[in-house]
Symmetry: none
């Protein structure tokens, strides 16, 4: 073994065994060459190699320092004992009764029989058949007029935002009303945009008018018109994520920003996961004609993310009128459930402030509480905490994912978890 690698191994061992710990300074090259009785070049080479392998770093005009930390055991992260979720109030689950699996299976089976089509990749923009179906559906549903040419299909909102980010200039400012849509804000930051948390006043304005906050607030018409005018004046691009617009019925139905603006500077995003099955990852984005042109010029850069089989199935599902039927059914179903849960909570938490959200999907509960927020998870309850201060906690509860006949025991479990 060469002198150099002897020294390399010696120091490496000192570091790994924590004899010289993280941040500790190594002897200077001169000093080390005396200590080990070798040439300075040998020391220098050993230090270089150690730096290269990540054990030490060189700080100019100062010396060499240990940069290695013994990996904490949790590299194979001790799989956190996952709390089994018994009652999911977070709004991410769906109720099995709200969806007719048999019909969906029938459409999927028909799609799976189309051997020839399944032998090729999906069009990058999405199956034309589906884009045509979406074009008709969204005109009927939200008065959004857009031909299939301007519609892009993708697996979830994130996939579509990646496409959008590739079409617009980097470095622009993007506004989000708050920090709740982490997957969106992180994505824009990651693509080199400057993200601000405010209502508007940015080059790109991201809004979910039908779901402004976790409380399910709906943007009033007045503000919709104001935003449309504002963005037209400033030349801002509005991204309208029409999340949960399908569930709106408490207040008057509100027009989409897209329809209000005539589609001239609004990109509209809609999704089917929430309406059908969370496991069906199909969303769509309607581009302005300018962005659609840019998309066509850059189409070679993109590939489709949504399952082709599911796209084919969804096309016939929409064509057969199943989607509109599902919307009506889900609406009735969830409204009834929210009201029922509201009444149950009224009885379970007498004297507490209890409200139904504007979109009728959530119940907001304010109650005294003196425990830890993590206690809920430990009791198998998943929920959103809106606020917790001065011994009072505000919870946002979506009963949608809990079966109707379990709502009462869910409320009791919640009470128990709060009182403990």
């Amino acid at each position: 073994m060469s002198k150099y690698s002897e020294i390399y191994d010696y120091i490496k061992n000192e570091i790994i065994t924590n004899q010289i710990s993280y941040g500790g300074k190594l002897p200077s090259v001169r000093k080390a060459s005396e200590l080990f009785s070798v040439s300075r070049t040998t020391i220098q080479n050993a230090y270089f190699a150690l730096a290269e392998d990540g054990y030490i770093i060189s700080e100019p005009q100062s010396g060499y320092y240990v940069s290695y930390r013994s990996p904490k055991k949790q590299n194979e992260t001790p799989r956190k004992e996952k709390n089994r979720i018994i009652y999911n109030f977070s709004g991410t689950a769906a109720d099995r009764e709200s969806f007719d699996f048999d019909i969906w299976r029938r459409h999927m089976k028909a799609a799976l029989r189309q051997n020839e089509r399944l032998l090729s990749y999906s069009e990058p923009q999405g199956e034309e058949e589906l884009r045509n179906a979406v074009s008709e559906y969204i005109l009927e549903k939200r008065n959004v007029a857009a031909s299939a040419d301007r519609i892009v299909i993708g697996a979830g909102v994130q996939s579509l935002l990646h496409v959008l980010c590739a079409l617009i200039d980097k470095g622009q400012t993007v506004s989000f009303p708050d920090r709740s849509f982490v997957q969106g804000t992180a994505l824009f930051e990651d693509h080199g945009f400057e993200v601000h948390y405010r209502y508007k006043d940015a080059d790109i304005i991201y809004v979910s008018p039908s779901h402004m906050t976790r409380w399910g607030d709906v943007m009033p018409n007045r503000r919709r018109i104001e935003l449309t005018r504002y963005s037209a004046q400033c030349g801002s691009l509005v991204i309208e994520d029409d999340y949960e617009s399908d569930f709106q019925y408490n207040s008057m139905p509100t027009p989409s920003l897209y329809a209000l603006s005539g589609g001239s500077n609004v990109v509209y995003i809609g999704s089917f996961s929430r309406l059908l099955l969370p496991s069906i990852r199909i969303s769509f984005m309607i581009l302005t004609s300018e962005l659609a042109e840019k998309y066509r010029q850059n189409i070679y850069k993109f590939s489709q993310t949504a399952s082709k089989t599911e796209q084919i199935a969804l096309s016939s599902f929409i064509r057969d009128g199943r989607l509109m039927a599902q919307i009506r059914k889900t609406r009735r179903f969830y409204t009834a459930k929210t009201k029922l849960f509201y009444n149950i909570l009224k009885k379970t938490f007498p004297g507490c402030k209890i409200e139904i959200s504007e979109n009728l999907l959530q119940v907001i509960l304010q109650t005294p509480f003196h425990g830890e927020i993590s206690d809920f998870g430990k009791s198998g309850i998943k929920l959103y905490v809106e606020k917790y201060e001065n011994g009072v906690i505000t919870l946002v509860l979506s009963p949608g994912g809990i079966e109707q006949n379990k709502l009462e025991s869910a409320a009791n479990a919640l009470k128990k978890s709060i009182e403990n």
Copy 2:
């Protein structure tokens, strides 16, 4: 017809035909009730319905305004007359005989019966069951040892690269061996990386060792070892896109860079689309332990793109040994076809230079040509042109997507298109 719907239709028609244009104010309820000689309630109901359908909006304390704009004609871009593809030599299609649809359908149907699982979103990282199956498969297949914790599932390589880009520092240099993988290079540029076209010498080195060029060149072992050493020395991160490694059999099976390096600075990416069905968009990425740790810390930023149903189906497909069987079958099938096509071309283009690519998936044909490259498309032929100069064209032809009994007519169509 009721009074109410008469009024609804009348106003709707006025709006659609632009008699009252966008932003125009409607008569007040009182005034309209006089004009139409009906009760105020009837007018109110008609206005509610018009608002619900997106034609007008209500501005509190002010009145009703038209919110509908007639969609502009030029939204429907004149569809470019697409050339119908008759013979696809581009390698993007698969042969129907290479895949047993019945088996896949069986697994999909079983997955579709799992109602309870389909009611929730897929794990952001991918279904654990699938990650476990991939972990075992890839160890057996490519000697790549990685626990399910380090595997991320996504809909296609692009989706996975978006995840990876979010985990590594921006502004670094990325090298690609050439410009052929546009979807990859565009993505990195879009995320703020500096892309270079060279073999290595970059912070991040992207390689497809089993498919180095369109010619299907395979990276020799000597270069693999060299690259592994080089990247370890420089601290570069290698992204090993193991595209088409499954089809390799001409040369000796080559070790993965991941296995050679012990996985310390290699991210491995594999895909099932090519092996099973192009329409099945499931790929996987194996992160280094450092990046896996970072992924876990940032997991809230990501959502899953691959279809949950297809993930469940693929898990059982792999567990039942169907994937390995499919690999063997596809290999035999495509080798035989390439050889057959080679012999057909030898006869159809006597005297021309004809070669089989190293990965045995393509035939390279060099022949005199005096037309336009676009002529191929017009004749319904899709292919790659490698070079065209001085009256000689070099074509890369993948016979994989063409049925065996059509190879001869495909070769004749090609000859005709070249001679015209």
